[in-house]
């Protein structure tokens, strides 16, 4: 498999959120501000890439019927590393993301990529898969958060945009996330219909 194809797959053709439809819980929960979304994307990409590397390294020595507990152990270890590091060096981020950092363990993107990709492919391909899936996840989150932060709290990166304007409260809550995600899917499908679904 070509590296170029892996990268395009992660970002566009097999985008974890918009195409595969996995990892929606953190997507809807942390996209209330762009900086939250970026930190979440960074944490997830780190865990995803590291666990992909390890899973790919041990894929030949792990008997298939115990692979799931092993994958989960690997993923959980990296998540704890991220959690402790954020607690120690970025307490504000830790406070803002709260419970969603430990919940990366159960993010289906990570277990899904271990199972579907890393346990069947080489280390180098797995690294690129982790990074590109992470970028795809991060881009989707950032775009979602961009609209929600502007419309929902009249801010961008924490700076207020139009003084005195009352923001739409709905956008900052769950329905706003669903609606924005729906619009993003629509735009993506329009583009795909125009330029073809060149992935598969």
């Amino acid at each position: 498999m070509k590296i170029r194809q892996i990268i395009l797959d992660g970002i566009w053709f097999r985008n974890p959120i918009l195409v595969l439809g996995i990892g929606l819980c953190p997507t809807l929960a942390v996209t209330t501000s762009v900086s939250n979304a970026l930190w979440m994307a960074l944490a997830t990409t780190f865990v995803l890439t590291c666990s992909n590397i390890l899973v790919s390294m041990i894929k030949n020595i792990v008997p298939s019927h115990i692979r799931i507990p092993i994958f989960i152990t690997i993923i959980a270890s990296f998540v704890i590393i991220v959690e402790l590091t954020l607690k120690a060096f970025q307490p504000q981020v830790d406070k803002a993301l709260g419970i969603y950092i430990p919940l990366i363990v159960v993010n289906c993107i990570i277990l899904g990529r271990s199972e579907e990709f890393a346990s069947k492919n080489s280390i180098v391909s797995s690294i690129f898969d982790g990074i590109s899936m992470g970028i795809g996840f991060g881009l989707t989150l950032s775009i979602l958060a961009f609209f929600r932060e502007i419309l929902g709290s009249n801010k961008l990166f924490g700076y207020t945009l139009i003084p005195g304007m009352e923001p739409s409260l709905m956008m900052i809550m769950a329905p706003g996330a669903f609606i924005t995600l729906g619009f993003m899917l629509w735009v993506m499908n329009v583009i795909k219909a125009k330029f073809g679904n060149g992935g598969e």
């Binding site: 092993i70 690997i74 607690k87 120690a88 709260g98 009249n154």
Partner: protein, 243 residues
């Protein structure tokens, strides 16, 4: 056969678990000091908030220890000048398990046992429900920036990071039971609600998170009992010395 089906997977699982715990203990050793430092720093800030210098409180004895019923109780004593008299204020950290995990609250009380301020320094309650105990009123976060000269910014001890839930504890009498009313969000502007709560010595519960609210009031009440005993013990000791 047995070797392949049982022993080998067991060994592999054990090896992976061993490596993982080794790595995690190493990370823990690197970050532990930093995390403890942050917690200490938060404690320090909370202490300044519940025994504010703006009210004239000066800390005179930090982390005093008293043994009550075989248990250690730690509290801080401050004093302020009120005309001729010196009035004491006390602060203590109280912990009780809430809906999910410990809720740690720093509480400051004056010489009469009335709460000066409280500050929740650690909680892991449900986001959107119990975690709202730390939530600052939305009008302040949105507009405080622009109307900072207006009366939107809360006065007194209420720095921008004090939530309405914490703010409403100011003035509550800890000598009698602290009640809980389900009247919705407390606001400084809503004087009818504020005076009703004050009359009944009650706080307004967080909607959908009465457990969290009760945790905080219960922990304050139980620690106040300890504080009263600790003060008594100390006074007795002083009397014995003078006699």
């Amino acid at each position: 056969m047995v070797m392949n089906r049982i022993i080998k997977p067991t060994l592999i699982l054990a090896a992976i678990a061993f490596i993982a715990s080794l790595a995690l203990s190493h990370i823990n050793r690197i970050t532990r000091d930093k995390i403890e430092e942050r917690i200490l720093q938060r404690k320090e800030e909370a202490l300044q908030r519940v025994l504010p210098v703006s009210l004239g409180y000066q800390v005179i004895a930090k982390d005093k220890k008293a043994v009550i019923d075989g248990k250690e109780f730690v509290y801080t004593v401050a004093e302020r000048q009120d005309g001729e008299n010196k009035l004491f204020g006390y602060a203590f950290l109280t912990t009780k398990n809430g809906y999910s995990g410990a809720v740690k609250t720093m509480v400051g009380v004056d010489h009469e046992g009335k709460i000066i301020a409280i500050s929740i320094i650690q909680q892991s309650e449900t986001p959107g429900l119990g975690a709202r105990s730390k939530e600052v009123p939305s009008t302040e976060t949105f507009f405080g920036h622009f109307f900072s000269n207006n009366n939107h910014v809360s006065s007194g001890t209420g720095s921008s990071s004090t939530s309405w839930f914490e703010e409403q504890f100011a003035g509550i009498d800890t000598n009698v039971k602290i009640g809980i009313l389900k009247k919705g969000e407390w606001r400084k502007e809503n004087t009818t609600l504020a005076s009703e709560l004050r009359e009944k010595n009650s706080v307004s519960a967080i909607t959908g998170a009465t457990i969290t609210t009760k945790t905080v009031t219960d922990s304050i009440e139980s620690s106040m009992r300890l504080l009263r005993k600790a003060i008594e013990l100390e006074n007795n000791a002083v009397e014995e010395k003078t006699q």
